[in-house]
């Protein structure tokens, strides 16, 4: 028994050690420590003057989570005894401590001998290593990090032991998952429908007041998040509801943006159309684009739409970039000075002075977003949305039930494309510029990720997805170069914990009390 625990815990120790070494080598340890220090002290820590305490904290935390994971691997019937757990925790901390010490000794000897490690590891500047090694006091550093690993694993052991003693393992986790059932939000909503309405209204009001209190940076991030949320809602209709895979969603986005740009910019055509009219036209043009793409695949089953849209997106991108179309689209230079809407004087009347341009535009985006949100809700919980979902579940049977699959397919694509067109128009107007480089394949991938991460076919999921895909990387800006690493890791963790998406779709309760069979007889008269 002890032998298996020894081998298993040393494996965990090696994993923890490797994570520690990796994090230190890509310099993530000191970045995290810096953030923690900023968080706790409120001060600004310079990169080479981080208090070693926070370094130790990061190291300890990594070992802490590894040990917790080890102790939880046993199923609920068989628990480690305290002695076994202690033994395992010590093994884990010693093994990982040894590994991190090894790295420290190597790095330290490099530093003492005056060699620059940056030849091999770009991220490791001498300053960073010095901060990590207590200014080349290697012996002290080794002891210090050893202590961190031991403290980390002991903390894990004690926490685990307490949670077991109180006979409520992982109470916090369970409490979190059952939180919803405990406070019974759903039932309260069912009993008092007014509560839900009031809550939604309050949310909308809070949302509407938001742009007035946040700073310019947050305004720009929120704008992008909302534009992606609009796109996500459109794509959700196609991918999440009707089950047609679209890889080139950016094509419709670009169509909307360019139509808007050409209609409102002084060059090349000089039409300078009214904002709202141009928005409508770009919506229609994108919808027509969707119709044309939908036509060839309306009678096909399978993932043809994915290929067709993928090709279509590339054609659109190459065309707007080409010299052939340069007279109309501006070629690689794009369209400049795209029009923005004029602020109505109503705001000036109420606020005393006109809103700042970016705030005003954010309100505009919110306005369009709310309209699209309303439309998405209406469509999803209607005959149309149900038919789309039936088509996603089983196209053959849906058709045999009377769903005209070909026209519903095209309808989904047209509506989805039109929404993308509106998002594109807003995007172009917000930047007052549009160019071919903005419509790379990555935009389609992001839009698809918004839908998939949030939960296919779920509207709140899509909004959450937009925030995660476009908002989270901005929140992680403090992590500098590592934000994409952490972002990727977070996405992986999310998909492991909630494979159907973060906020999977929930069926609405629709049933009413049945009537007598006589009415049914009358009803069923063909």
């Amino acid at each position: 028994m002890m032998k298996t625990i020894l081998s298993k815990s040393s494996k965990f120790g090696i994993v923890a050690g490797i994570i520690l070494i990796f994090c230190e080598m890509i310099n993530l340890t000191s970045t995290l420590a810096e953030i923690l220090e900023k968080l706790f002290t409120g001060g600004t820590a310079a990169k080479n003057a981080i208090t070693p305490f926070y370094m130790g904290l990061v190291v300890g935390l990594i070992v802490f989570f590894t040990t917790i994971n080890f102790l939880r691997t046993r199923n609920s019937q068989k628990k480690y005894s305290f002695g076994q757990g202690f033994f395992a925790a010590v093994t884990i901390s010693i093994v990982s401590g040894l590994l991190i010490s090894l790295l420290n000794i190597i790095l330290g000897s490099y530093l003492v001998n005056g060699k620059d490690v940056r030849v091999y590891l770009e991220a490791l500047a001498p300053d960073v290593i010095r901060a990590f090694l207590f200014q080349t006091d290697i012996q002290k550093a080794v002891t210090y990090y050893f202590m961190s690993t031991i403290l980390g694993s002991m903390a894990a052991l004690i926490l685990f032991w307490i949670s077991q003693k109180t006979n409520q393992p992982a109470k916090s986790v369970r409490a979190l998952t059952h939180l919803k059932e405990k406070i019974q939000i759903g039932r309260a909503f069912e009993r008092y429908p007014a509560v839900k309405t009031v809550l939604i209204l309050l949310l909308i009001i809070a949302f509407l007041l938001l742009p007035l209190v946040i700073n310019a940076y947050t305004i720009s991030v929120l704008g992008i998040v909302l534009i992606y949320a609009i796109m996500g809602l459109g794509l959700n209709l196609i991918v999440g509801l009707s089950g047609q895979l679209v890889f080139g969603y950016v094509a419709f986005f670009a169509l909307g943006a360019y139509t808007f740009g050409l209609l409102t910019a002084p060059k090349p055509f000089g039409i300078e159309m009214n904002f709202w009219l141009a928005l409508l036209v770009s919506l229609i043009v994108a919808g027509i684009g969707g119709f044309l793409v939908g036509l060839p695949i309306m009678n096909l089953r399978g993932d043809y739409l994915a290929i067709v849209t993928l090709g279509f997106a590339e054609i659109v991108r190459i065309l707007i970039n080409s010299n052939l179309m340069a007279d109309y689209t501006g070629g690689p230079q794009g369209i400049k000075n795209i029009g923005q809407p004029i602020q109505p004087s109503i705001f000036e009347k109420y606020f005393g002075e006109p809103l700042e341009d970016n705030v005003w535009f954010l309100y505009l985006i919110i306005f369009v977003f709310l309209i699209v949100l309303y439309a998405a809700f209406r469509l999803q919980y209607s005959r149309t949305g149900r038919s789309w979902e039936a088509m996603r579940e089983d196209e053959t049977v849906a058709q045999a039930c009377g769903v005209t699959t070909s026209s519903y397919k095209v309808l989904a694509i047209v509506i989805g494309a039109a929404i993308a067109g509106a998002a594109g128009a807003l995007y172009a107007s917000r930047n007052t510029y549009t160019g071919p480089s903005e419509y790379a394949f990555m935009v389609s991938v992001n839009a698809l990720a918004v839908v998939v991460v949030g939960g296919m076919g779920s509207i709140p999921g899509t909004l959450l997805g937009a925030f995660i895909i476009k908002g989270l990387p901005e929140l992680l800006r403090d992590l500098e170069n590592y934000r994409m690493v952490v972002f990727g890791a977070l996405l992986i963790v999310m998909m492991i914990i909630r494979p159907e998406g973060i906020w999977p779709v929930k069926r609405r309760k629709l049933s009413v009390a049945p009537e007598s069979i006589e009415i049914l007889k009358e009803d069923l008269k063909p």
Binding site: S382, R383, R386, E389, A400, S511, I517, I519, L520, K521
Partner: protein, 277 residues
């Protein structure tokens, strides 16, 4: 005023080939109003293929299918559902991730008129139709005995309930003709007798004509007005349950040749039973 057609469904000389294989060969069938017709036959006899032809899944290579004296060959399945033919499937095919009531609402698709424009602007027509269709779906679910499950996800229903749900969904478009593909497959005797009762009620209460494929002879002999026997794609017999039971060709198809004695034995035993009663 057009006269009422004499048959709900008339299939004339249906032939279906799959490459070199003739799955259904020159089969004809007349289905009178408010009757229950069973199609039986050994495995691979072409029963389901024949069904698929009627419901528009396959186009037949030869012959014509008339639905209320209107030819329906080569019409897409959604239009056939529109005309009033519904079906269920041998291996249950529900919309598994949707709720039970949503499944029934999809079944009503051909009877709904509101468009997506109505939906977007929440017109009066849309509200009324939505309300009516939900009420009707609940009535249907109550009728097949699934009222309590209405808001559950279809996938979580027990097997027997899934079969019933398929029937409820098929009833949504006010069918004249209901095609049931092995409605009692895999059921225990209790569930089977409940299903027999349901099918009988469908005809007696809702006046629906039913054609079904079934392997369970207890069901077939119990409820059918007429039985069509297929073997190797050919029609080998048609008649009342009694006629089929004593038909030499049918017994050969099921048990192999050299069964004359069995037939004799069977009819003798039947006669004895009659005497005893």
């Amino acid at each position: 005023m057009t006269k009422k057609p004499s048959y709900v469904l008339e299939a004339e000389n249906i032939t279906i080939n799959f490459g070199g294989l003739t799955a259904v060969n020159d089969v004809s069938l007349q289905v009178p109003f408010e009757s229950i017709i069973s199609i039986i036959g050994p495995n691979g006899a072409g029963k389901t293929t024949f069904f698929n032809c009627i419901s528009g899944f396959y186009a037949c290579d030869n012959g014509t299918v008339f639905f209320q004296e209107r030819p329906i060959n080569g019409i897409p399945t959604d239009e056939i559902a529109n005309l009033g033919i519904s079906r269920t499937y041998q291996n249950i095919r529900l919309f598994t991730n949707m709720s039970v009531i949503e499944n029934v609402l999809i079944g009503q698709q051909p009877r709904l008129r509101s468009t997506c424009i109505d939906t977007l602007f929440q017109t009066f027509r849309n509200r009324r139709e939505e309300k009516q269709s939900i009420q009707k779906a609940c009535n249907l679910l109550d009728f097949v005995g699934l009222g309590a499950y209405a808001d559950d996800v279809a996938n979580n229903l027990p097997y027997g309930a899934q079969r019933r749900l398929e029937i409820a969904r098929a009833l949504g478009n006010n069918p004249h003709l209901l095609l049931l593909d092995e409605p009692c497959a895999g059921m225990n005797p209790h569930e089977t007798s409940a299903m027999i009762e349901l099918i009988n009620t469908l005809r007696s209460q809702l006046k629906i004509t039913i054609v079904l494929i079934e392997h369970d002879m207890k069901v077939v002999m119990n409820i059918s007005d007429s039985i069509l026997v297929l073997d190797h794609g050919e029609k080998i017999a048609q008649g009342t349950p009694d006629e089929i039971q004593s038909n030499q060709k049918v017994i050969e198809a099921y048990l192999g040749s050299g069964t004359e004695n069995l037939v004799e034995k069977y009819s003798r035993r039947k006669a004895d039973k009659g005497n005893l009663d």
